[in-house]
Symmetry: C2
Subunit: 503 residues, 2 copies
């Protein structure tokens, strides 16, 4: 049928296309059918919904479409029922345990980006990879296809450095310090980060407290070519767009097959033109990677994949068994990072990790002799050069470079949990800390989170403060307190764990 | 949140739940989130959509919900964001190749029926079964769980007979003749059938030309207890409701894993209380099962599954290499079946198959001595007893028992394809015939379809009619003619297949 576009004020999470019941009958379109909309040269696919919300002759589109395609209201387009996408054949080939060819992987990725494959088909693909795996050749093809079906950045300053931390450790604001150190040494590092998905704060959430993180690729190019660095939200860019669509499905199934994880991370680096990449794998209880063996095996895969993509990759296995620094939550972490940059000093777990990683990048990029990277990185941090670079980043991205740690608003509804016994802190449960910070409102409420007063190994006396919960509302604070009491995320040696009463 | 139900005039194919953007923000609900609606004791799950189509405080529900749950407009309900369903764990267990326990399979099926698992998760389940398979114990547990999460029928007349034909052969109106023969012999056969999905006519579509097929379970019970038989549409009943939800996903992936196929068929038989079941597996080129080896292996699985379910199963492997009888399409087939019942005579392929299958059922149910079933079945058909029973079925289901074949309206836009050479008919392509009949409008246009003038082995002369296309509209007829010319579904020995011109 031909019809008139009507943009509906509906967010469906996918592309929902609404057709009037009369048109649906005439064109034999049923609910959930895959339909194709053609306008000029481009076409896009979506799921059919049928209802009187649109008139006969109108084609209603959920406003999700605007993020991928610029339709205008009233535009005349064709709507065509679409058959089973070709790439379903290749998903089935993988189900049979056969190896996919490059062109088959490209077709799958292209169909995902065009929304020709919907969650049902993507789920079949993800599940099949979880069961049958992908070999390194397939992963490389997938990575390149994911990058090339999105926008690509071409920055003139070389070499281009990058760093990526595998998630899972709360309080990991490390890269907010690493990036300005590396750029202050004269290297180029266009850093894109994600927002929190299951954590209390992603790097993008933290930086957003200090400056704007939603930039276009053109703005990034301009800024990075001028000052050598940026700290932006990758989600605002159209980098490897198939990735988000697959991750949505992986999350619903709580799956994270290694082949997809590798492709997901490296496709974004490939799209942004990164040449020297440092992968940080925090390892320990409650981190995404719990054992050093697993971290080593993952490291080998990153290095091998990098080779196939023409990238030089190094991997740092870091300690991730407790939160980094003393703060968890966007504003609290931004404050801690800014203080560290301004004073050149900060919590050991944060400063040592940041200069360690920055040092490796300086050596990789040729800005420090082998073995001297960490010393030079420390100097850059301590002499205020990293802070100076951070001010440039904040200013170029549209923030106030004069922002002070005390200007940052922190949730003023607080509650402190105290030690109930004397002893040493033996463990801080990453997942518990994250859950409490999220219950308090992080990452949506930027001021919400947790400030730790102790770290593993500290000696405490009964009544000493262990951690303070910050929230922006009393109701959120109350919920977080309830969870904190239930989880008891900080364990003290000699603590009575449970009392069975003789009732 | 608590909110007021608003039933929206939208068909989404699934349960879509619309929330106002303000409520979504306050309750942190994002598009596609799984949300639970609680009302009194029951709860139901759906996907969140966000938009101004509902006011703050309103909870909009697509009208799909009405088929599964009776909400009333304005009713106050709670809406709660739901986490990852427990059964996702079991799907992942199967991904690891482990065997599922009965209770785990039950949880998966229950979550499918409650819409807690949506297409994304069902797709992961179906894909995993395609790859890792199910053993017979798992299939039996799945079958029982599918039946028990839906309505069950309890008919007092025993024994209860049933027949099921695996699809794929066009023109297969056989069961419209088998059922009245079996009931005329005094046995009980509550036959439920499906509508066409990919074929040109399902048994339910054919019977619907003669009488109403959309009945409630109560009506079926009354009719079957009175006259021993019915011929109804299973889709109108809540039998094994998980099945349709899985089949939707299987169709989109063009998958049909054997474990699910067995469970799908047998769950409906189990729900309806069938004790003696005859499975008809048409075998041949273009049928669903192409080789006799595959048919035998499938037969063994049906018999084994029946044993585990307490059912006695026999399997007939029949010839399915060309259409059954001479007609394809709801009205054309209804007419052919009715003529056969009235006169006791009809095309050999139809009559021999019908009395063969009916005879087996008579023997299974004790209404004929071993080896005598077919003779008795033929007698019942030829003496008009089957026609008499069919009249009762038509009348009890709400149709006119005096309906004559010539009363049945057939599409009056026709076109006949003629032989272009002399020779013998060597093949009639099932898939081609089905495609042309569907292009002509079947099954939606009941009068559309194909009338064959020849069958395999017939001798034809150049210019003899091969088949006539019937349609209800000229535009449909034109499309069918184009397809017929392209497919040439009837092959004649000695035919020039292609001419390469010397241009």
């Amino acid at each position: 049928m031909r019809g008139k576009i009507k943009i509906l004020d509906i967010e469906a999470g996918n592309l929902a296309i609404f057709i009037n019941p009369e048109d649906a009958k005439q064109w034999r379109i049923h609910p959930t059918d895959l339909v194709k909309i053609e306008s000029g040269k481009r076409s896009i696919y979506g799921s059919a919904f049928i209802g009187n919300i649109v008139e006969k002759g109108e084609i209603g589109i959920s406003k999700d479409v605007l993020s991928i395609y610029q339709f205008s209201s009233g535009e005349i387009v064709s709507l065509i029922p679409a058959g089973t996408p070709e790439s379903v054949k290749y998903i089935k080939k993988k189900m049979r345990g056969e190896k996919l060819k490059k062109v088959e992987i490209e077709t799958i990725v292209r169909d995902i980006v065009d929304r020709k494959l919907r969650n049902t088909e993507i789920s079949a693909f993800v599940s099949t990879i979880e069961i049958n795996g992908l070999d390194m050749e397939e992963i490389a093809a997938l990575t390149i296809a994911m990058a090339e079906t999105g926008d690509m950045l071409d920055i003139e300053r070389k070499p281009i450095m990058d760093i990526h931390s595998i998630g899972g450790v709360p309080g990991n604001k490390t890269n907010v310090i690493v990036v300005p150190i590396v750029a202050a040494a004269g290297l180029t590092i266009p850093k894109t980060s994600s927002r929190a998905i299951t954590s209390a704060a992603g790097t993008a959430d933290v930086v957003e407290v200090l400056t704007n993180v939603t930039l276009t690729l053109e703005e990034i190019k301009r800024i990075v070519e001028k000052i050598g660095a940026c700290l932006v939200w990758g989600g605002a860019l159209n980098l490897a767009p198939a990735d988000d669509l697959m991750i949505h499905v992986e999350r619903r199934l709580s799956l994270d097959p290694r082949g997809l994880m590798l492709a997901s991370i490296m496709a974004k680096k490939y799209a942004i033109g990164s040449q020297y990449i440092l992968i940080d794998i925090p390892t320990g209880k409650g981190a995404k990677v719990e054992s050093v063996e697993e971290a080593r095996s993952l490291a080998r895969d990153f290095i091998e994949l990098g080779k196939r993509l023409g990238q030089y990759v190094e991997v740092a296995i870091t300690y991730g068994g407790q939160p980094i620094g003393y703060t968890v939550g966007p504003a609290l972490e931004a404050k801690e990072a800014l203080e560290t940059l301004m004073t050149g000093k900060g919590p050991g777990s944060l400063v040592e990790k940041a200069i360690g990683l920055a040092g490796l990048l300086l050596e990789m990029g040729g800005a420090a002799p082998k073995g001297k990277g960490k010393i030079i990185a420390r100097e850059i941090l301590e002499k205020g050069k990293a802070y100076q670079k951070m001010r440039e980043i904040i200013e170029e991205q549209g923030g106030d470079p004069n922002i002070k740690p005390e200007d940052i608003p922190i949730g003023d509804k607080t509650y402190t949990i105290h030690a109930q016994t004397n002893g040493y802190v033996t463990a801080i449960d990453n997942k518990g800390i994250t859950a409490i910070a999220r219950e308090a409102g992080a990452p949506e409420d930027k001021g919400a989170g947790i400030r730790l007063h102790v770290k593993v190994g500290d000696k405490v006396k009964e009544g000493d403060p262990l951690f303070t919960i910050h929230a922006e509302s009393e109701s959120r604070l109350d919920k977080a307190i309830v969870l904190a009491r239930r989880l008891e995320p900080i364990k003290i040696e000699g603590m009575v764990l449970q009392v069975i009463e003789n009732l």
